[in-house]
C-alpha cells in the first residue's frame, strides 16, 4: 500500500464510537496541496483502558528533567514503586569535572521515602523531614529536590513547608516539586512544573562571572548515551563556551549561572521551552531552536548559531569544522546508505525526537511514513504560531504559570546579549530563526501520517497496514514490532548504543540501523519446510 491510500477510519474501526471520534482528532494525514497543517488534537487526556505509551507527571518532572542534575539529590516522596521505576532508566550520562567531584554525583542513585501504611494514614511530612536530615548528614549535597507522587497529593502533605523548614535547618536549597502523577495528562505537565521550579529557585542565583566571548546554554539535551558531550565538544571547538547543558550531565552550580549566557540553544522544544521563554522575559536571553540529530540538521544548526553572533571569524571556523567533519564521515556513511536507501520507518518517541530523527533518516535515504509524539502539544506538530489559539482546559489550568517581569537589575535587551543592532536582531527573528519552532508537519512526507498519543492497538494496526522496514520507538512496543517481524530501534535509551548526535554520532546511528536492517535472522524465521510448501503452491 502506498502512503496516500491509507484510510484513517480503518485504523480506529475497532474502538467504541466515542473513542473512535476522539482518536480521529489525534490523527492527521499530510496533504501537501492543502498547504498549512490541519489542526491535530494533542495534550489532552488519554481515554482510560486504551493502552497508552504515556507516563505520568512525576515521570516528566523527576524522571526527565530534574533527575539528571548530577550534584543534587532527588528524593521521591511516596511509596516505593514510583521511585524504583524512574531509577536509571534513561541512560543520562554524567561525569565528574573540575566543579563537581565524583563523590558529589548522585544522579545514578535512587532515594525514596518508601511510604508505609501508617505514613499514608498519619501523613508523611515527618518521615520526609527525617529523610532530608539523613541525606544531608550522609552525603552533604549542594542542594536537594523533593518530588511527590500521587498518594502524597491526596493525603495532603505540605511539601513546600517541609522543604522550607529543611532549607532553614541545613542552609542548602531544598526545592519542592508538586508533581503528583495524576496532574495534567502526561509527562508534559511534569516538564512544566520542573521548569517553573528550576526557574524560580535556581536560575539567577549564581553570581560568578563566566569566561568566554560566546557563551551558550544547551537546553533540552539529556545526554542519553553521551549525546550532549558530542555537541558540547563540537561547539567548543568552534569557539563557543557551553555554560551548562539542561539537564543531561548538568550541575546545580552551573544551572545557577544559566542567566549569564549570550544565547540559549534549544534541542528538545517540548520539555524545556518554558525555561527558554521565561529567561527571555526575565533576562532578555534570546533562544534558538537547533537540532543536532542528522548531518544536514547539524550543519544548519551550526550555521544558524554563527549567524546569531555574526562574527566573521566564527563563521569561517564553523565552515572549516563542517568541512573537516563531513570529509571524515562521508565515506563510511556512504556504505550504510546503500543498505538504508528507500526503506521506510515509523517514529514514535517522546515530544521532539520523532521530528529530529526524520532529518537523520533522510540523510540515510529513508522516509518516515508515520510519526507521532507521546506527550507533545499542538505547537510541536503545527508550529509555535498556533500557541495563542490553543484552548486551555481543566488539565492545563492545573499547572501554575509563572508570570514573570523583566528583572530590574539583570534584564538586558536580547540584541545586546548578541552584541548586535536592534534591526539586525529583528531581521533574525523575522526570518523565523530566533524564538521559533516550526513543528513536525512541514517535514512530513506527502501522505504521511501524524498520530498523537498512539496506543498499543493502533501501533499494531499501523504496522500491519504499512509494513515498515524499521520502527523507532520506546521499549514498551519494541517487542510487539519484533513479534510482527519488524526490527525496532529503542529511541529512549538507544539499545545501549549512541551517542547519535552531530557528525560522528550519525555514523554510529547509521551503522546500528544498517545492522538492524540487514541481520540475516529476520529472513530465517519461516522454517525451510514451510518455505518450500509455499513455493510449491
Amino acid at each position: 500500500m502506498t502512503v496516500t491510500d491509507v484510510n484513517v477510519d480503518e485504523l480506529v474501526a475497532s474502538f467504541p464510537d466515542k473513542v473512535k471520534k476522539n482518536r480521529k482528532r489525534h490523527i492527521v494525514k499530510k496533504n501537501e496541496s492543502a498547504g498549512s497543517c490541519p489542526q491535530i488534537e494533542a495534550n489532552t487526556r488519554t481515554v482510560p483502558g486504551i493502552i497508552t505509551q504515556r507516563g505520568c507527571c512525576y515521570a516528566g518532572c523527576k524522571g526527565v528533567v530534574v533527575g539528571p542534575i548530577k550534584d543534587m539529590i532527588s528524593i521521591t516522596h511516596g511509596p516505593i514503586g514510583c521511585a524504583y521505576y524512574s531509577w536509571g532508566t534513561r541512560r543520562n550520562k554524567a561525569r565528574a569535572d573540575d566543579r563537581t567531584p565524583p563523590e558529589q554525583i548522585y544522579s545514578t542513585m535512587c532515594f525514596s521515602t518508601d511510604m508505609q501504611e501508617s505514613d499514608i494514614v498519619f501523613g508523611g511530612e515527618k518521615k520526609l523531614a527525617k529523610m532530608i536530615d539523613e541525606v544531608v548528614e550522609i552525603f552533604h549535597p549542594r542542594a536537594i529536590n523533593v518530588c511527590s507522587t500521587c498518594p502524597i497529593g491526596l493525603i495532603g502533605d505540605d511539601l513546600g513547608a517541609v522543604a522550607k523548614a529543611a532549607e532553614e535547618k541545613h542552609g542548602i536549597p531544598v526545592i519542592p516539586y508538586n508533581c503528583e502523577g495524576y496532574k495534567g495528562v502526561s509527562q508534559s505537565a511534569g516538564h512544566h512544573i520542573a521548569n517553573n521550579q528550576i526557574m524560580e529557585h535556581i536560575i539567577g542565583t549564581g553570581t560568578e562571572e563566566l569566561d568566554g566571548k560566546y557563551i551558550v546554554n544547551l537546553l533540552g539535551e539529556y545526554n542519553i548515551g553521551g549525546d550532549g558531550w558530542v555537541i558540547e565538544q563540537l561547539l567548543e571547538e568552534i569557539g563557543y563556551k557551553v555554560n551548562s547543558i539542561l539537564t543531561g550531565d548538568s550541575a546545580y552550580v552551573n544551572i545557577r549561572n544559566l542567566h549569564k549566557v549570550h544565547l540559549n540553544l534549544v534541542q528538545c522544544h517540548r520539555s524545556i521551552n518554558y525555561i527558554a521563554e521565561m529567561m527571555e522575559t526575565k533576562y532578555g536571553t534570546p533562544w534558538l531552536k537547533i537540532n543536532f540529530i542528522g548531518i544536514e540538521a547539524t550543519i544548519e544548526s551550526l550555521r544558524d548559531i554563527a549567524q546569531c553572533f555574526g562574527d566573521e571569524e566564527l563563521i569561517a571556523r564553523t565552515e572549516l569544522v563542517i568541512e573537516r567533519e563531513l570529509a571524515a564521515v562521508t565515506p563510511e556513511l556512504e556504505r550504510y546508505r546503500k543498505i538504508c536507501r528507500g526503506k521506510t520507518a515509523f517514529s514514535f518517541v517522546g515530544g521532539s525526537r520523532s521530528h529530529h530523527y526524520q532529518y537523520l533518516l533522510r540523510d540515510l535515504g529513508m522516509e518516515v511514513v508515520v510519526a507521532g509524539y507521546e506527550f507533545a502539544h499542538r505547537d510541536d506538530y503545527e508550529g509555535r504560531e498556533v500557541i495563542p489559539t490553543i484552548k486551555s482546559d481543566a488539565d492545563t489550568k492545573n499547572i501554575p504559570e509563572l508570570h514573570l517581569e523583566p528583572d530590574p537589575e539583570m534584564y538586558r535587551e536580547p540584541n545586546l546579549h548578541l552584541n548586535m543592532s536592534k534591526e539586525k536582531y529583528d531581521e533574525l527573528v523575522a526570518s523565523g530563526r530566533l524564538g521559533y519552532y516550526k513543528g513536525m508537519y512541514p517535514d512530513m512526507i506527502d501522505g504521511g501520517i501524524m498520530i498523537d498519543d498512539a496506543n498499543h492497538y493502533e501501533t499494531e494496526e499501523l504496522i500491519e497496514i504499512f509494513k515498515p522496514d524499521l520502527i523507532f520507538t520506546g521499549i514498551k512496543d519494541k517487542y510487539v514490532s519484533h513479534k510482527m517481524g519488524v526490527p525496532s530501534k529503542q529511541m529512549h535509551s538507544y539499545d545501549y548504543s549512541g551517542p547519535y548526535t552531530c557528525f560522528r554520532g550519525a555514523v554510529t546511528f547509521a551503522r546500528d540501523i544498517a545492522n538492524a536492517l540487514s541481520t540475516p535472522a529476520w529472513k530465517m524465521i519461516t522454517p525451510p519446510w514451510e518455505q518450500s510448501e509455499t513455493k510449491r503452491t
Partner: protein, 465 residues
C-alpha cells in the same frame, strides 16, 4: 552455633532499593491465567512504568491497561474512569479474564472496587468475562506480596467444591518462564496429572511463529483452576509466603486439599525433596532419565567444589529465591557473606537460621534492605560474588564484585525470561555460571595480584626487601 546478624531497616532513607511495588508482581502472576489482561486502577504512570519494568525483563510485549485517573477523580472517585477503561479493554482485547490491581492512589482514595465491578457487570449484563479485583497497595507490600495476593485471589475466584481427583496442584512463586517449563517437564516425567498456577511460561516468553495475537496464547485454564479444589494435594514453592496471602493454605482451609510447602527445587537437597514428594504422590518409580540428571549434577558439584569453597556470595532478591540459593550455596561449601531481601515479614530469618548454624563464617542477614546497606555489608564481609537481579550492578560497578544474574527484574542483561535455575539440570546450569564467574574474576586479576604480592612497585622482589 553462630548467631547471624540480622538487621531490619531502621533508617528513613531508602537508597537504591531492592524491591518494587505490589501491583507489578500481580501483573506477572495474572499473565499466568489464560486469556487474561491486567488493568491497574490508578493514574496511568503506574501502568506505564510497570509495562516498562516487565518488558525490560521478559523482552516481550506487555499490555497493562490503566483507568487513567486524573486530578478530578481524586476528589470524586474513580468509578466512571474504571468503567470506561473496562469498556475499552473488553472491546479492543476481548479478554476472558480481567484482573484489576489497585495502585496506591486508588487505595488511598478508598475506591470500593468490588462494588464498582458488581454494578458494572449488572449494567452491562456481562456474564462471560470474569473480573477479579486484587487489592495491592504498595505501601503495604512489595511485588513479592503482590504476586502471592493475585495468585490467591485467582484461586479464590474460581475454586469451587469439586469431586476429588488424583491430580495435584503446583503453585509457583515469581520464577522465570524457563523455570516453569522445567518444573512442568519434571512433573510430566513423573507421570502426574497437575494444574500449575500461574503458568506464564508461554505468555511471557512467546516463541516466534504464527500470527501475532493481542493476548498471548497460553496460561493456566480457568477450568483447571476450578478443579484445584478437588486435587490430591498442593505443592507450593512458598516457604516464605505470608499465610494470609497463601493460595495453597486457602485451598487447604476451604477445600481440605493438603498443602505441602516446599523450597524452590534449586540445589540437590531441595530438588531431591521435590522428587521424593512427587514419588510419594504418584507412587511411581523415579524415571532413569531423572536419575541420570541427578548424577550429572552430583558429578558437577564434586568437580567444582574446591573452587566453590572460595566463594563468599552476597545473595539478594525475593525471599523464596534467596532462601533456595542460600541452601544451594551451603551445600556447595560457598558460605554466603550476605543474604538480603527487600521484603519484610517473610519469615526468612527463621528459615535461614538452622541452615546456617554450622557455618564456619557468619553471614549477615538483612531484611527490608536497600543496596546501600547490602553494599556496606558485602564489603565488610568480603563478598566476592553478587547473586541476584540487576540491582546488584552497583556492587559490581562500585565495588568490583562480579555478578551472576538470577531472579527478577533483569534489565541490564538479555534473556531474563530464559534464566534456568530449577531442577537438577537447571541447578547445574546455575552452578556452572556461578563457578565460571568466580574463575573469570580469578583469571582476570590473578597475575596482577600475584605480582603485587611478590614484587614491589619498582619491580624488585619483596622477598629481598
Amino acid at each position: 552455633m553462630t548467631d547471624c546478624t540480622v538487621t531490619t531497616r531502621v533508617r528513613q532513607v531508602n537508597e537504591n532499593q531492592c524491591h518494587m511495588c505490589m501491583p507489578l508482581g500481580g501483573v506477572v502472576a495474572l499473565r499466568g491465567v489464560e486469556h487474561s489482561i491486567a488493568l491497574v486502577h490508578g493514574s496511568q504512570g503506574c501502568s506505564t512504568y510497570m509495562r516498562l519494568a516487565n518488558v525490560e525483563h521478559f523482552n516481550e510485549p506487555i499490555d497493562i491497561a490503566s483507568s487513567s485517573l486524573n486530578e478530578k477523580q481524586t476528589i470524586f472517585g474513580g468509578e466512571a474512569n474504571l468503567r470506561k477503561a473496562l469498556d475499552n479493554v473488553i472491546r479492543v482485547y476481548q479478554p476472558k479474564v480481567i484482573g484489576i490491581m489497585t495502585s496506591c492512589l486508588a487505595e488511598t482514595m478508598g475506591d470500593d472496587i468490588e462494588r464498582f465491578i458488581e454494578t458494572y457487570k449488572n449494567d452491562r449484563e456481562i456474564r462471560e468475562i470474569d473480573i477479579i479485583p486484587v487489592s495491592t497497595p504498595s505501601y503495604n507490600g512489595t511485588h513479592t506480596e503482590g504476586f502471592w495476593a493475585t495468585t490467591r485471589a485467582v484461586v479464590a475466584y474460581y475454586a469451587r467444591p469439586t469431586e476429588r481427583h488424583p491430580g495435584i496442584n503446583v503453585i509457583v512463586p515469581n520464577i522465570s518462564p524457563a523455570d516453569i517449563r522445567e518444573i512442568k517437564r519434571i512433573l510430566d516425567l513423573m507421570g502426574l496429572e497437575y494444574t500449575l498456577l500461574p503458568d506464564y511460561s508461554l505468555t511471557l516468553d512467546r516463541p516466534f511463529g504464527g500470527r501475532y495475537q493481542k493476548i498471548a496464547p497460553g496460561g493456566t485454564s480457568t477450568a483447571g483452576i476450578a478443579r484445584m479444589a478437588g486435587a490430591q494435594a498442593t505443592i507450593q514453592f512458598g516457604l516464605t509466603c505470608p499465610e494470609p496471602l497463601s493460595p495453597g493454605l486457602f485451598l487447604e482451609q476451604q477445600f481440605g486439599v493438603p498443602l505441602i510447602n516446599l523450597p524452590l527445587p534449586i540445589g540437590l537437597d531441595s530438588m531431591d525433596l521435590f522428587v521424593r514428594t512427587l514419588h510419594d504422590l504418584s507412587r511411581r518409580p523415579v524415571p532413569e532419565s531423572l536419575v541420570l540428571e541427578r548424577g550429572w549434577l552430583c558429578d558437577g558439584m564434586a568437580d567444582a567444589h574446591k573452587i566453590n569453597a572460595g566463594a563468599r556470595p552476597a545473595i539478594y532478591g525475593e525471599p523464596e529465591l534467596i532462601y533456595a540459593l542460600a541452601k544451594l550455596c551451603m551445600e556447595n561449601g560457598s558460605i554466603p557473606a550476605v543474604i538480603a531481601s527487600g521484603t519484610q515479614n517473610s519469615g526468612l530469618v527463621g528459615l535461614l537460621q538452622p541452615l546456617l548454624k554450622d557455618a564456619l563464617e557468619e553471614p549477615v542477614i538483612l531484611e527490608e534492605a536497600d543496596f546501600v546497606t547490602i553494599e556496606e555489608a558485602a564489603v565488610r564481609k568480603g563478598a566476592n560474588l553478587a547473586i541476584g537481579h540487576s540491582g546488584g550492578r552497583y556492587l559490581t560497578e562500585r565495588q568490583g564484585i562480579p555478578g551472576v544474574r538470577v531472579g527478577y527484574p533483569i534489565h541490564d542483561r538479555i534473556g531474563g525470561q530464559r534464566i534456568l535455575s530449577v531442577g537438577y539440570t537447571g541447578t547445574l546450569a546455575f552452578l556452572d555460571r556461578f563457578t565460571n564467574t568466580l574463575l573469570e574474576a580469578k583469571h582476570g586479576s590473578y597475575r596482577r595480584l600475584r605480582k603485587e604480592e611478590m614484587l614491589n612497585k619498582k619491580g624488585v622482589s619483596n622477598a629481598k626487601a
